[in-house]
Amino acid sequence: MAIEQALQIFVFVILTLMTLGGGLAVVTSRNLFHAALSLILSLAGVVGYYVLLDAGFLAIVQLLIYIGAISILILFSIMLTRGLMTPRQVQRNEQWWIAALVVFLTFVVLIVALWQMVWPIADDEALRTPNVAISQLGEALVGPYAIPFEIISVLLLVALVGAIVLARETENNQGSHAEAGSSE
């Protein structure tokens, strides 16, 4: 049991290095493509966190949607907005040090608050048997959470329609001019 606990802590430390290190690279990297790849690393760390927290299904959903879909979308958009890639311009704005200060203060406040708080931790029996059945998750999605479930699909529809309108509008405005530089 002690070995297993030590192993969990070891894995946790590695995942934390991945997540926070990747996160730092995301916000500091000058090359946006590297920033996006670091985001993938960071998200992979979060996948590991979910596994450690016994949320296996969620870990795989994170892998599927965040790493598989959202980051691909981000990499695509970085490649589509190329102008910013070539000049090695400064990626920080002038108020970055104010931002750093604000962020540091926020972090300190959060840490102080959460270490002082006494959390109503569940009893041992409940902790040992978390509810991880996917079928129950499925029942919950169409049962008590039916309305958010439908709203998500409407939200996705609206996002898609909006995005297509935006993408098409610019294409019509610029006509063949924008396509002149295209590669195919």
């Binding site: 070995i3 297993e4 493509f33 590297h34 790849l37 993938i40 296996g56 299904f57 795989i60 959903v61 892998l63 599927l64 790493i67 598989g68 879909a69 980051s71 691909i72 990499l75 695509f76 490649m79 991880v132 059945a133 996917i134 590669s183 195919e184």
Partner: protein, 389 residues
């Protein structure tokens, strides 16, 4: 696996259960990560060359070893001793990471494949979702390779590859959804157990969708636009040479075997067959043989398709995914869901018939929609021609 762990604990009393489990896991993942890639790449590259040679009326490899069976090893030595050329402008870290990621992604799929009765690395609750999700890592690897090479063709190849991979991932998910509906579980072990009749017979439409989409997903002809030699040199790995290229190649063949294995598991009953069972060693071996034979049959079909069909155009490729396979998959999922909830379906036999009926109805519906659309676009085209006159 579980039986082996129990046997270890019983035979060597000082071994605790956790330790025995660790030993078995390390051994099995060692086999999957080091032995399986070598065997699979050597065996299936040889098979592919021979099959293609036969289709094209050639002999194929016949120099290295008897009948050329050692060709794969000869290639390995060649790859290993080749000079590695990295473009001067390449982003070295990303450039080197891409082939590693491609290989890892292909090997990780094997973790959830039940290759024999009771032999499965991790029977995850969300097993099929895991298979789909791991596939996404390959897309990231393609984008990394294309971007870091600093080569127009590589970048173009990466874009095409990802556009194709993401387009065909959706039909795969929809076909899997139909299987999950029929089996009532996402665990691959449970899906195999649910196939008293192989799902290919009761869900033929889903099977065909998955087969076609898998061929596209592993980028084989006729969907090999991502490495169309005559158009974009070699796709996203143009700039790779030597061992780095070899790892893309290994990843490709691992991916081929993994995809065929997933198809076998989901639709052809996996390791199931006469006398295969987890009770005896013989039964386990027999199950493994059934699995390999079925998977090889699927791979053979893919090679046959490769040797027969020519490459299709990218707009046709994307149209086929988004305007045919995705709607078909959506109709299929709804049809299967409705069929399973029909009040008359109350016995296992009726369940199978209802599933088959749902498939037939979905295919017919799609055909009707397609022919209506085709008629409309034809008449629109005719009108346009008449207007031009």
């Amino acid at each position: 696996m579980e039986a082996l762990i129990r046997w270890l604990v019983d035979t060597f009393p000082p071994l605790s259960e956790a330790l025995a489990r660790l030993i078995v896991y390390v051994l099995y993942s060692g086999v999957l990560a080091f032995v399986a890639p070598v065997l699979i790449v050597v065996a299936y590259t040889y098979m592919e060359r021979k099959v293609l040679a036969r289709i094209q009326d050639r002999v194929g490899p016949n120099r290295a070893g008897p009948l050329g069976v050692l060709q794969g090893f000869a290639d390995a030595v060649k790859m290993l001793t080749k000079e590695d050329v990295t473009p001067a402008c390449a982003d070295r870290v990303v450039f080197n990471l891409a082939p590693v990621l491609a290989t890892v992604a292909a090997i990780l799929v094997f973790a959830v494949l039940p290759v024999a009765p009771g032999v499965i690395g991790a029977d995850l609750q969300a097993g099929v979702l895991y298979v789909v999700a791991i596939g996404a890592l390959g897309e990231v690897a393609a984008l990394m390779a294309g971007w870091s090479s600093d080569n127009k063709f590589a970048l173009l190849g990466a874009f095409r590859a990802v556009a194709q991979l993401i387009a065909y991932e959706i039909p795969i998910v929809l076909a899997i959804l139909a299987v999950v509906l029929a089996a009532g579980s996402m665990q691959l072990g449970a899906i195999v157990a649910a196939q008293d009749i192989p799902f290919a017979l009761v869900l033929p439409v889903a099977f065909l969708v998955l087969l076609v989409a898998s061929i596209a997903e592993i980028g084989r002809s006729p969907f090999d636009l991502l490495e169309a030699e005559s158009e974009i040199v070699a796709g996203y790995h143009v700039e790779y040479s030597g061992m780095k290229f070899a790892f893309f190649f290994i990843g490709e063949y691992m991916h081929l075997f993994a995809s065929a294995g997933v198809i076998t598991t989901l639709f052809l009953g996996g390791w199931r067959g006469p006398l295969a069972s987890s009770d005896s060693l013989l039964g386990v071996l027999l199950g493994f043989i059934y699995f390999v034979v079925k998977t090889t049959a699927v791979i053979w079909i893919m090679m046959w398709v490769r040797g027969t069909l020519f490459r299709i155009r990218i707009d046709h490729l994307l149209d086929f995914a988004w305007k045919f396979l995705v709607p078909l998959g959506l109709i299929l999922v709804v049809a299967v869901a409705v069929a399973l909830k029909l009040p008359a379906v109350n016995s296992p036999a009726l369940r199978w018939i209802a599933l088959l009926g749902a498939n037939v109805i979905a295919a017919l519906l799609m055909m009707i929609v397609i022919s209506l659309l085709a008629r409309r676009s034809r008449s629109a085209a005719l009108r346009a021609v008449a207007g031009a006159d």
